[in-house]
């Protein structure tokens, strides 16, 4: 890895990374790439999120769905762990709670394949700093 040597370097690196991520999220292929984030903090892992993550990785691959599965920290919905966030191309991300492998299967078949929402969505109820900027 090359070192970042100045603020200008850092900003350039950030732009590169952001455009890479934007490209990944706004892919033009018909099915597009699906982004799945699994909450993998202690609370999530204790409730079985590791299993869900492995299941997601394996099953999406088996079912030939072009998706990226990544881990992330605690979303704050500890009562509903394991939680996962699914972002379909050009759509707002959706968070599902109480996800076990059965629920994960339903999410893959119904939501990811057919864009049909599944019970168990956790609505967003907070503001992020970015949203604040727009005001």
């Amino acid at each position: 890895m090359t070192k970042i040597k100045s603020l200008a370097d850092l900003k350039k690196k950030k732009e590169d990374l952001q455009s890479k991520i934007a490209l990944r999220e706004k892919s033009d292929t018909p099915e597009g790439r699906v982004l799945v984030k699994v909450a993998m903090a202690t609370c999530g892992i204790a409730s079985g999120s590791k299993e869900v993550m492995e299941y997601m990785v394996d099953e999406l691959d088996k079912r030939n769905i072009d998706a990226i599965v990544t881990q992330t920290g605690c979303m704050g919905y500890c009562y509903a762990e394991p939680t996962i966030e699914v972002k379909l191309p050009d759509q707002e991300p959706v968070v599902y709670g109480y996800v076990d492998t059965r629920k994960a299967d339903e999410i893959i078949e119904k939501y990811i394949r057919n864009q049909e929402l599944v019970d168990g969505i956790i609505p967003v109820n907070y503001q992020t700093i970015e949203k604040d900027k727009e005001e």
């Binding site: 900003k11 903090a41 202690t42 704050g76 509903a80 969505i121 992020t128």
Partner: protein, 590 residues
């Protein structure tokens, strides 16, 4: 259409509403075009049941099952909003049609938790893409240490570990002390029972803490950073190690950071999980390899800290706020919160509350909003009794405090404290004397034993509380309880002892009648003190189903099928099994 199926909304028939919506859609032959989905809690239970229609973001509140007809006929069929069900802005009395303009989204603002659940904590690239290390770049290349400290003072950020000392002032003091080698210490020894925000930040966004530590080092002239973390947090430690390695590879830790000529590196130190090591002097001794015991302040760590050198100690959540302050400016940060407490605070909601979890709210929000809106109210529809804030050092607040804006000073005035942000909610079944005893049990266990008020005093306090819960105490014991509490508070060496009587004093102030009931009538109003309760069968309700007898672990319930059962009090161990198993309300706690 998203229908809330959280406990709060379900209690007001959101399941019927869900069925009715589906039925109505079918009648209009719309079942293939409109989908009805049950969701988790919106955090707006006060106005439940909630229905949100997407994609136009219409937000209906207080919807009854009968309203399904109108919603389908008007909104789904004709595309017209049902105005009378829209949320009315409490200030300007206008109907709000797009939920994005609603105040309840503003109840939570994620600053410290901004990246938790958003980025991959094991990827520095994702952190960089989310403005990561930009604050560091800005500080190193555009600001002098004095300017950077001034920015911190202007932001009004106060220590999130519990003390609430202004962070900028702390930095300024440390920057002015001379020393050959200064240190920045991150306090990740999160010890309050029920609080886990520091762990979540380290697990979800470790780089934000590292970035802030480097900034802190630049400001006070320190080149070494230490993170003191509990060994019980293996995942947080692992992710921190990955983050440190990545930051070194990118040259964001090490020598000549971002071409500024400034050097800084971070090491991890493990704590064995003693509660007192969250106190900064004890923490420093523990890192030095000494016993984790506090020493008298002054000298403050800023004067003589780790290895006798000037040291600045800040908590994880405090650090997590810092990069944002430099990115968005002190003014922006100071615009959030109350006059003397700026920004947000992360709370760990736990106890008898529906939405257990981590929330981040602006200072000045009320307990009512936190518990009944974001938290989704009390479990099983029970009555709110008290909320314990500040962990074992805090106190219990009651319904008379529900509308007090939460900030550092108001909580202290109300007899509790902010602490690290644990919030344990209690309902009508919790005995407040037992709650006080529970916290005392914790402090007795965690007292380091250095000073006698804490070591001996707390033990005696615990014994007095035990006597009360057994119904063996008299009036004099209550006076002794209060007097001893004050002595411990006034004479202990460190924060642990000075605050350990708080749970006792605050419950005595707010729930004296419960103490009196235990002492005068040998009765526990909440029915939880085992020595003071008895299980009895109510003859009118007992149908003789034998459920209680079959589940009694000590076989102390006698009675034939379809005959009245009786409990042998001499054998009963008060395990509550019969009470839980009886479907006919025939077992009573008296």
């Amino acid at each position: 259409m998203l229908v809330c199926a959280g406990t709060g909304c379900r209690a007001s028939s959101s399941d019927m509403l869900y069925k009715n919506l589906n039925k109505e859609l079918k009648e209009h032959d719309l079942q293939d075009d409109v989908q009805v989905v049950e969701t988790g809690c919106f955090g707006f239970c006060e106005k439940g049941p909630i229905v949100k229609v997407i994609p136009d973001n219409t937000f209906y509140v207080s919807v009854t099952p009968e309203d399904a007809k109108e919603i389908v006929a008007e909104h789904a069929l004709k595309g017209r909003q049902v105005e009378r069900l829209l949320y009315v802005d409490p200030v300007n009395k206008k109907h709000i049609s797009d939920s994005k303009g609603m105040g309840f989204y503003k109840k939570q603002i994620r600053i410290a938790l901004r990246n938790c659940g958003l980025i991959d904590p094991e990827s520095i690239d994702e952190y960089l893409a989310a403005d990561g290390y930009e604050a560091l770049g800005k500080v190193l290349s555009e600001m002098t240490p004095e300017e950077a400290i001034q920015e911190m003072i202007d932001s009004g950020l106060r220590g999130r570990g519990g003390g609430g000392f202004p962070t900028g002032v702390k930095w300024q003091i440390a920057s002015k002390v001379e020393g050959d080698q200064k240190y920045v210490v991150c306090n990740a020894d999160e010890g309050d029972p029920g609080a886990f925000m520091d762990r979540s930040i380290l697990e979800g966004d470790p780089h934000s803490v590292l970035e802030a530590m480097v900034i802190n080092g630049y400001c006070i002239g320190a080149t070494k950073g230490l993170i003191y973390i509990r060994a019980e947090y293996p995942l947080a430690i692992e992710r921190l190690k990955i983050a440190i390695r990545q930051a070194r590879e990118y040259g964001l830790l090490g020598t000549d950071i971002l071409g500024s000529g400034f050097d800084f590196d971070v090491e991890i130190r493990y704590g064995a999980g003693a509660f007192v090591c969250g106190e900064e002097t004890a923490l420093i001794h523990s890192m030095e390899g000494e016993r984790g015991e506090p020493t008298f302040k002054p000298p403050f760590p800023a004067q003589s800290g780790y290895l006798g050198m000037p040291t600045n100690v800040n908590n994880v959540e405090t650090f997590a706020n810092i990069p944002v302050i430099y990115n968005k400016g002190a003014k922006w940060f100071a615009s959030i919160g109350t006059e003397k407490s700026k920004g947000t605070k992360v709370f760990a909601l736990a106890g008898k509350i529906n939405n257990v979890g981590l929330i981040e709210v602006p200072m000045g929000i009320t307990l009512r909003e936190v518990i009944f809106e974001i938290g989704g109210g009390i479990k099983d529809g029970k009555k709110f009794r008290a909320v314990q804030t500040g962990g074992p050092s805090g106190g219990c607040l009651t319904d008379k405090h529900l509308d007090t804006p939460i900030d550092f000073d108001n909580l202290i005035e109300a007899g509790s404290m902010m602490g690290s942000g644990g919030m344990i909610v209690m309902d009508e079944d919790d005995c407040m004397v037992s709650v006080a005893k529970f916290y005392l049990d914790f402090t007795v266990e965690e007292s380091c034993g250095k000073c006698s008020p804490c070591r001996v005093g707390n033990k005696r306090l615990y014994e007095l509380l035990e006597k009360i819960t057994q119904g063996k105490a008299d009036k004099e014991d209550l006076d002794n309880l209060r007097n001893l509490s004050m002595v411990i508070r006034d004479t202990s060496l460190c924060g642990l002892g000075q605050t350990s009587p708080n749970p006792v004093l605050s419950t005595m102030d707010n729930f004296m009648e419960e103490y009196d009931a235990h002492v005068e009538d040998q009765r526990c109003p909440a029915g939880s003190c085992k020595e003071l309760i008895r299980y009895e069968i109510i003859p009118e309700n007992c149908v003789g189903c034998t459920a209680c007898a079959r589940n009694c672990p000590v076989n102390c319930i006698a009675g034939e099928r379809k005959q009245l059962h009786t409990i042998d009090q001499s054998l009963c161990i008060k395990c509550n099994a019969c009470f839980e198993k009886c479907k006919f309300n025939a077992v009573a706690i008296v």
